[in-house]
């Protein structure tokens, strides 16, 4: 996985729709064990390609995110636990 020129990580919840990114780190302490297990099961892991695709109509929450070849929906709060490197 090539690291971007200015590796400045942002929260996945801050990423604009359609911006491809790769996961820099995940703060597992922000998630309870069930949530953490579910995120791992979705394949969230350092270096994995992600892309926010859709936002919920009310309060821009939840967020639909492409992770690998899957699309998953998670709440904004949980997306905030995932730090990503945006790929221009």
């Amino acid at each position: 996985m090539t690291v971007h020129a200015q590796p400045k990580a942002v929260g996945l919840d801050q990423l604009r729709l359609g911006t491809k990114a790769c996961v820099a780190s995940i703060d597992w302490t922000m998630l309870d064990p069930g949530e953490a297990a579910r995120l791992r099961n979705f394949g969230f892991d350092e270096g994995v390609a992600v892309e926010p695709l859709h936002l919920g109509p009310f309060g821009r929450d939840p967020i639909a995110i492409r992770v690998g070849r899957m699309t998953v929906a998670i709440r904004r709060k949980h997306a905030g636990a995932i730090q990503v490197f945006p790929l221009a």
Binding site: R40, G43, F58, D61, R69, M70, A73, H78
Partner: protein
């Protein structure tokens, strides 16, 4: 007799596992429950080439052996041989989605490590191809070390190959034994991604159908509008299409009671069968058409992949009350009837979310409350115009619906802050690819729901209606006595009257509350019966029930009665289905108690306010 050998079908959610299971076992399926949990056990039989049958069990979809829902915990426990009521499988059939190998192979690798004889079905290869993904099953087989069969379960492609592979597996001697999984999930995940990448022959980026559809269906403005339109159509169908078959069932029940009445001499036995069993169960199975139509649509929405999109759209609003987007469809269904609504909560993975949804579902104004509302409103609310062409009667009806919804949201909020505090995996779900629904899958699902419903009608509901009948009929009234006063029910009503008098209810209402436990709309006929019996010899009796009510009930009593019906847990079927879905009496009892308290408070407030206002 030795139990049949067992093949467990395992795989991640949305891998097409159930479609493959249906293709292999056909309609000869059994749907049961794992003991102690509300997770369904689907099993079927498969004939091997040599004529020996094996049992196949379709395990709940799981992403790994690290569970994040009760369903996934059952899958893990079965695969590790720790599930109560299930033997350790003799072989595994792992289903993976060809276009999502990076994710699905992780679970497959974990399962292969268990060391059981294993076959992998590389499912939905057609959809992968449509998405521009060409895979090499032989390479995959080499990497994984187990047979890999490409399949398209919904078109039965590859099913014969799979059958042959299963024959081979069972005819060769067992070479392996069950062993614990050693690798950690993270390294399995990385290995899965390597294998998935190695198995790709070519990949051409194409604009996928699912993305195009989501651009519209999940659009911040178009999405909710389409959802609202869909729900409107479904509700129209539930009420419009069901009218005729409901009439047929009603006529059938009436015909049956006439026939039975003609054959049996008048007396207790005839009364038991006609007034108890036939009338009671008849009142409940009248709802079968509505339940069928509603579930048809729910299964359709589920089968296409739209259901999770609806949850996505509604999640934020539902979350504010402590529920999740997943609760939207079950609660909406409860407007038709709480029974299918509560049954539909099975799609909610988080146990606390699910329980909260079940507990508030009866507050959604179900269609059985309509006859009661209609009667009381017609009798007591003047048919005047409040301006802008809005009638007062319609406004009151609308207000009753809003009262129910408000009560449900409030109850959910309180429950989530109190007895059901905390959450599990919250709202985290996969948005699977859109698919054409499979008629066969929908029909199998429908049949299972009908069976659950009819079994309830046949057992618990029949039992309670007979008890209610007995209370109302024993002892028999002598000459000059009123059955409604002599019977046990009459005496119970005396007791109830003491409790409900402060909220403005009279003896007639107290008496009607008892049979209304069987089904709400029975309250109407119960009141009608009481008044017609009491007036049998009075030539000046008012003709319509509306007129009778108007002369006997003061307005505050009528309003309190309406408020009571918004909240009261008056339906045995709902209590029965809650018991089934929560696996015990604790939660149904809790539900009944809190709803009675709410109903009493609401009726009381209404009555006292109305009296104070001099209505």
């Amino acid at each position: 007799m030795n139990p049949l050998r067992l093949i467990a079908v395992a795989g991640s959610p949305n891998a097409g596992k159930s479609a493959l299971f249906n293709a292999l076992t056909g309609a000869r399926q059994k749907v049961g429950n794992y003991p102690g949990v509300t997770v369904e056990r689907h099993s079927g039989r498969l004939m091997l080439g040599d004529g020996r049958p094996v049992e196949m069990v379709d395990l709940p979809g799981a992403y790994s052996l690290e569970p994040s829902s009760p369903d996934e915990a059952v899958t893990r426990d079965v695969l590790l041989g720790k599930q109560q009521g299930e033997r350790l499988p003799d072989a595994l059939l792992i289903v993976v989605d060809a276009s999502n190998l990076d994710n699905h192979l992780r679970f497959a690798l974990q399962l292969i490590e268990l060391g059981l004889p294993t076959i992998i079905a590389l499912n939905m290869v057609d959809l992968a191809k449509r998405d521009g993904l060409e895979l090499d099953p032989v390479r995959l087989e080499q990497e994984l070390g187990v047979p890999v069969i490409p399949t398209v379960a919904v078109r039965r492609r590859g099913v014969a190959d799979l059958q042959t592979a299963l024959d081979d597996m069972f005819s060769s001697p067992r070479r392996s034994a069950h062993q614990p999984v050693k690798s950690d999930l993270l390294s399995l995940q990385r290995r899965a991604r390597e294998i998935a990448a190695a198995a790709v022959i070519s990949e051409t980026p194409v604009r996928r159908w699912t993305h195009r559809l989501d651009a519209v269906l999940l659009h911040p403005i178009a999405g909710p509008i389409i959802l609202a339109a869909l729900m409107f159509i479904i509700f129209q169908a539930v009420f419009a299409w069901s009218a005729t078959p409901m009439d047929w069932i009603g006529d059938g029940v009436a015909w049956l009671s006439t026939q039975v009445s003609a054959v049996l001499p008048p007396g207790l036995l005839r009364s038991l069968i006609v007034d108890g069993a036939i009338a009671g169960v008849g009142a409940v199975i009248t709802f079968l058409p509505q339940i069928l139509i509603l579930f048809f649509f729910i299964l359709l929405l589920e089968g296409t992949g739209y259901m999770v999109r609806a949850a996505f759209l509604m999640d934020k609003l539902m979350h504010r009350t402590g529920l999740s987007g997943r609760a939207f469809i079950p609660l909406l269904s409860s407007f038709a009837c709480a029974v299918p609504g509560i049954m539909a909560t099975r799609t909610i993975e988080d146990p606390k979310d699910r329980l909260t949804t079940i507990l508030v579902a009866p507050l959604m104004t179900c269609s059985a409350r309509l006859p009661v509302y209609t009667l009381i409103i017609a009798a007591f609310i003047p048919n005047t115009n409040v301006g802008l062409g809005i009638g007062l009667q319609g406004l009151v009806m609308f207000g009753l619906y809003i009262l129910g919804i408000g009560g449900a949201l409030l109850a959910a909020l309180v429950l989530r802050k109190g007895v059901l505090k905390g959450g599990g995996a919250g709202f985290m779900m996969e948005l699977p690819k859109y698919q054409w629904p499979q008629l066969k899958g929908v029909l199998i699902g429908l049949l299972a729901r009908v069976e659950i419903f009819l079994k309830r009608a046949g057992t618990i509901i029949l039992g309670t209606t007979v008890v209610l009948w007995a209370l109302a009929s024993i002892p028999q009234a002598g000459p000059g006595q009123k059955q409604s006063e002599v019977s046990i029910a009459g005496h119970i009503a005396d007791g109830i009257e003491v409790v409900v008098k402060p909220i403005g209810f009279n003896h007639d209402i107290a008496l009607a509350l008892l049979p209304a436990m069987a089904a709400r709309e029975v309250a109407v006929s119960a009141i009608a019966t009481v008044y017609s019996i009491d007036e049998a010899n009075d030539p000046s009796a008012e003709k319509s029930l509306t007129d009778k009510l108007r002369h006997r009930w003061p307005l505050p009593t009528a309003l309190a009665f309406l408020a009571w019906f918004v909240f009261a847990p008056q339906c045995i079927s709902t209590i029965a289905v809650t018991r089934r879905e929560t696996n015990g009496w604790k939660w149904p009892l809790f539900m009944v108690s809190y709803l009675f308290v709410l109903a009493y408070a609401a009726a009381g407030l209404t009555y006292w306010t109305a009296v104070a206002l001099g209505l």
